[in-house]
């Protein structure tokens, strides 16, 4: 692995994204519009907005980065550039970390904007303050990126890649504790929920909403999400064989 190659790859991925202005605009503006919408849906119930607002700040970057990365990596696989790159000194780790770095930077921009709107004008009340919120949201975005890189190996077309969102992400969303408290779930569902990385991402945000301090629960959530990122990247590298049929 080489920092020079990781940076070169990240720069290239960002250059590709910069050419696609509409995607950049959608990535940055859509979370803001959704937060605005949510705020006015719950205009009579500010407590509900306070409860779901912070978890949504974690969900937006997770969802968008998952989609964007899985399609971007699928293109790399199907356009022949991946095969070409694997005959060069570029390592698999250089490629995957380059993607993670590029989309991680986009996630920082997306999260800072969304958090600024939610915590500022929309009056979202988060006990822990903005810094921890942004840190956890960016980590969640990296989780989306890492899972997107991994799952792109199992899609042959962009249609399939997009279907991984309902197939792979929605079950995590239903069981993550946002729609129903995890304590109230039947035991098998609770176990399943405990096995999903998104559960920890959302739980972390819920903890930050109610507690101002870096509690052991929050630290556990951060560590679990970070470990899932690394595991997904390592598995992703295994889906990039140099020799193919």
């Amino acid at each position: 692995m080489s920092a020079r190659l990781v940076l070169a790859t990240a720069r290239r991925v960002l250059a590709q994204l910069r050419r696609d202005r509409r995607t950049v605009a959608l990535l940055l503006v859509v979370p803001l519009l959704l937060l605005l919408l949510l705020r006015y849906v719950f205009t009579q119930q500010p407590a509900v907005f306070d409860r779901v607002g912070a978890p949504l700040l974690a969900l937006f970057p997770f969802l968008t980065m998952f989609l964007v990365t899985s399609v971007a990596m699928l293109r790399e696989r199907s356009s022949g550039t991946l095969e070409r790159l694997l005959t060069t000194p570029l390592g698999k780790a250089d490629l995957l970390l380059g993607y993670a770095l590029a989309f991680g930077l986009v996630a920082v921009a997306q999260t800072v904007l969304a958090s600024a709107l939610a915590l500022g004008p929309l009056g979202l009340d988060v006990a822990a303050g903005p810094l921890l919120v942004v840190v956890l949201a960016v980590l969640d975005a990296l989780l989306g990126t890492a899972l997107g890189l991994l799952l792109s190996a199992f899609a042959r077309t962009e249609f399939q890649a997009v279907q991984f969102l309902p197939a792979f992400v929605l079950p995590q969303l239903l069981l993550c504790g946002l729609f129903a408290a995890r304590d109230a779930m039947a035991a098998p569902l609770r176990w399943l929920s405990a096995a999903f990385p998104l559960t920890y991402a959302v739980d972390g945000m819920q903890q930050l909403t109610v507690s101002g301090a870096l509690t052991s629960d929050v630290v556990r959530d951060l560590v679990v999400v970070a470990c899932c990122c690394l595991a997904a990247l390592a598995l992703g590298a295994a889906t990039l064989p140099r020799r193919t049929a």
Partner: protein
């Protein structure tokens, strides 16, 4: 003289079907070898085995003294795929700068290869707006960046006008004169005359392995197309 490439008893299976049946040949350094044969005869599979991206391979493939696909070969072998392997959403310059970084090419190398493939004036143009032939030349340029000792080219001149084709062959000749070993595949038999050596491939078997003049003499054919028919009929 040590051969740049030594292939012995190469068998490749793809999807349960044997595509190459015990192929063997050698490539001498500084020579242009044409790999000719009809579409579907196994040319691309053979080239992929040489650069180490083909699975289901048995037999020995030695490239520049190492087993094909060895990590040490990645900066010494240039591979140009049949479909241009370039990022269509980037400009010509952005594509080349990325591959230059990946290959560790020295500064100034981008301008040199752009001149070699005659795309100097197009650096800031998006690859999406280039013609198929121009995209193929960008793809070729990315492989030249690393000044490889072995250049593996899969149908590099498809869709190019005759003038450009002549110029690219002049470039291949200049590279070979400086010691680069070149293996170039084509299904256009008239390109055979520009090669030092020919490998005719038919249904996964090498049916001729000799210089063009020797092939014509042996078969008594007027051109390589006729010679291929004669060899194929003799083998059938």
């Amino acid at each position: 003289m040590v051969n740049s490439v030594q292939v012995h008893d190469l068998v490749v299976r793809r999807g349960g079907r044997e595509v190459l049946h015990g192929v063997g040949f050698a490539l001498a350094p500084g020579r242009i070898t044409g790999l000719l044969g009809p579409s579907g005869c196994g040319k691309t599979t053979l080239l992929r085995a040489l650069v180490g991206v083909q699975s289901g391979v048995s037999g020995t493939v030695t490239v520049l003294g190492e087993p094909a696909g060895a990590p040490g070969l990645r900066s010494r072998v240039g591979y140009v795929t049949q479909a241009p392997a370039v990022y269509v959403d980037l400009t010509v310059a952005e594509n080349l700068r990325y591959f230059a970084a990946v290959l560790g090419a020295p500064p100034g190398r981008v301008e040199e290869v752009l001149a070699q493939v005659q795309l100097q004036g197009r650096t800031s143009q998006g690859v999406r707006t280039l013609s198929g032939g121009e995209r193929a030349r960008v793809s070729l340029a990315t492989a030249l960046l690393g000044s490889p000792e072995l250049l593996v080219l899969d149908e590099p001149t498809v869709g190019l006008d005759p003038v450009l084709r002549r110029d690219l062959w002049a470039l291949f000749r200049a590279l070979a004169d400086r010691g680069t070993t070149i293996l170039v595949s084509s299904h256009v038999m008239d390109e055979a005359a520009r090669c030092d050596h020919l490998l005719l491939l038919r249904e996964g078997r090498v049916v001729a392995d000799e210089p063009p003049a020797a092939l014509l003499r042996r078969t008594g054919a007027a051109d390589v197309e006729q010679a291929f028919l004669a060899v194929a009929e003799a083998a059938a």
